[in-house]
Amino acid sequence: MKHDLSAKLAGHPFVQGLSEDHIKFLTGCIANVKFMPGEYVFREGEPADLLFLLRSGQVAVQVYGPGRGVTTLSTMGAGEIVGWSWAVPPYISHFDVVAQQMTLALSVDAKCLRAKCETDPEFGYQMLARMVKVIERRLTATRIQLLDMYGSHR
C-alpha cells in the first residue's frame, strides 16, 4: 500500500527532483483522498492542516460575499497543488476550495511536513523552493488578471 502511495507521490510534478530519501519520508505523511463534485476540500477559516497534491479532476478556489454570492478566483487540476497556508502562520485557510469534478489527490499532513522542514533544512529548502515556484506563478497570474487584458482599452 505504502509502495503504491510512494509511486503516486513520485509521479507528481511537485516532488520532481526530490531525493529518494525525501520522497520516502514524505510518503509517511500522505494519504490518498477523493472528492466528489461539490464536495469541499477545505473551507475559509479552517486550520490549514493539509496540503493537497492534485492527481486528477479539478477544484475551484472560491470566496463568498453577501450580495455577491460565490466568486471563483481560479481553478486547478492534475499536477497542481492547493493549500499553501500550511507553510504560513497562523496556518489558516483563506479561501474555500471545492471539487468541480471527481478529484483524486494526495493529502500531506501539514504538521508532519512542518516538523520535517524544521529538523531537516535541506528538505525544508526543497519544499519551500517548490512552494515559491507555485506562489510566483500564481502571483504572476493574479497580476495578469488585474491588468484586465481582455478589456476594451485598446
Binding site: 479539478q58 475551484a60 454570492g69 460565490v70 466568486t71 471563483t72 478566483l73 481560479s74 481553478t75 487540476g77 492534475a78 499536477g79 468541480q100 506563478r137 504572476t140 497570474a141 495578469i144 488578471q145 491588468l147 484586465d148 487584458m149 481582455y150 478589456g151 476594451s152 485598446r154
Partner: protein, 286 residues
C-alpha cells in the same frame, strides 16, 4: 446612409486603395460591446482571403478601421467581421442594418502559417477579441484536420458573458480530434469551467515542443505573457507566430502609420514570426 448606396460600386483589383461597397446581410451582437457584420458583394463577386488577413472597413464620411476577417475562408460569398465598438467609426458600424452598404478594402497583410504548420502539432492561444482573427484558421484546421498533428486552442476571456462565438465554441469543444479549452478571469454563478489566466492553460498542455507551431492573438501585453509561457514550455521563438495590432491606415505600406521600426504591420504583418520582432516588443512608444 442613403448617400453611400448611391456611390458607384467600385471593384478594382489592381488598385488596393479603392474600396468595394458591400451590402450588410446581418449585424449580430456578440457581447455587450462586440458585434459581427456579415457582408456580401452586391454583384456576387467572391471575396478570397487567407486566415489572419485584415480589411479596412468603413463608412463614407465617417472613416475606416482595420478589422481582421473572421469568416470561413472556404465561403467566399460572405465577408464576416467581428468588431469591438471602441470609437466613432466602430460605433457607426455597430448601428448599420441589413441592406445598408459599408466600404471594404482588402484583404491585406500576411496571415497565419497554416501551410508551414502542416505535419506539426498546432497550439492556438488567444484572448478576448483575439479569437476573431483566429477563427478562419480554426475553420481551415478543422477542414483539413488530417494534415496536422495534435491541435489545441486555448481561449481566455473576462466572464461568461464575454465569450465570443459562444455557441460555436461550445460546439467545437465536443470534438475529440481538437482540444478546445476555455478559461475566464472571473467565474460567477453556475460556471463550472476553468477560471484563471490563459497562460495557466499552457502549463497544463503536454507540448511536444520541437514538433509544435504556436499561433497567438490578443492584446499585445497579454501576448508577451503568453509567449513567455510558450517559451517556458521549450517552444522555439521561431515557431511562435503572433498577430500584431497597430494603427493601420492605407493597408499597403505607404502611409507609415503602422510602422514598427523597419517593418509595416499592414504589409509584413499582421502575423509575424515572434523571433523576427521579439526585440521590438519591449520598446516603448514604438
Amino acid at each position: 446612409m442613403a448617400h453611400i448606396a448611391e456611390l458607384p460600386n467600385v471593384l478594382n483589383d489592381s488598385d488596393p486603395m479603392i474600396p468595394r461597397l458591400m451590402r450588410v446581410v446581418k449585424n449580430r451582437p456578440e457581447t455587450s460591446n462586440t458585434f459581427t457584420l456579415t457582408l456580401e458583394d452586391p454583384d456576387r463577386i467572391p471575396f478570397k482571403f487567407e486566415p489572419g488577413q485584415f480589411n479596412m472597413v468603413g463608412i463614407a464620411g465617417v472613416g475606416e478601421v482595420p478589422v481582421s476577417v473572421c469568416g470561413d475562408p472556404d465561403s467566399p460569398m460572405l465577408v464576416v467581421h467581428t468588431i469591438r465598438a471602441v470609437g466613432a467609426i466602430t460605433d457607426a458600424l455597430r448601428r448599420v442594418v441589413p441592406g445598408q452598404f459599408v466600404m471594404v478594402r482588402g484583404p491585406y497583410g500576411h496571415g497565419w502559417p497554416l501551410r508551414e504548420a502542416e505535419g506539426h502539432d498546432v497550439v492556438i492561444v488567444c484572448g478576448g477579441i483575439g479569437l476573431a482573427p483566429m477563427r478562419p484558421a480554426v475553420y481551415r484546421l478543422l477542414q483539413a484536420r488530417d494534415r496536422y498533428g495534435k491541435c489545441a486552442m486555448l481561449y481566455g476571456t473576462r466572464t461568461e458573458k464575454d465569450i465570443l462565438f459562444k455557441r460555436e465554441f461550445m460546439r467545437w469543444r465536443t470534438r475529440k480530434d481538437f482540444r478546445f479549452e476555455l478559461t475566464l478571469d472571473r467565474g460567477r454563478g453556475v460556471w463550472r469551467g476553468n477560471v484563471g489566466v490563459v497562460t495557466d492553460l499552457i502549463s497544463r498542455l503536454d507540448v511536444d515542443a520541437p514538433n509544435t507551431i504556436a499561433m497567438v492573438c490578443g492584446y499585445e501585453m497579454m501576448m508577451r505573457f503568453i509567449v513567455s509561457s510558450l517559451i517556458a514550455q521549450k517552444l522555439d521563438p521561431s515557431r511562435i507566430f503572433i498577430s500584431m495590432e497597430r494603427n493601420m491606415k492605407c493597408g499597403v505600406g505607404l502611409c507609415g502609420h503602422c510602422q514598427l521600426r523597419g517593418t509595416f504591420v499592414c504589409r509584413s504583418g499582421p502575423v509575424y514570426r515572434y523571433s523576427d520582432i521579439a526585440s521590438l516588443l519591449p520598446v516603448r512608444e514604438l
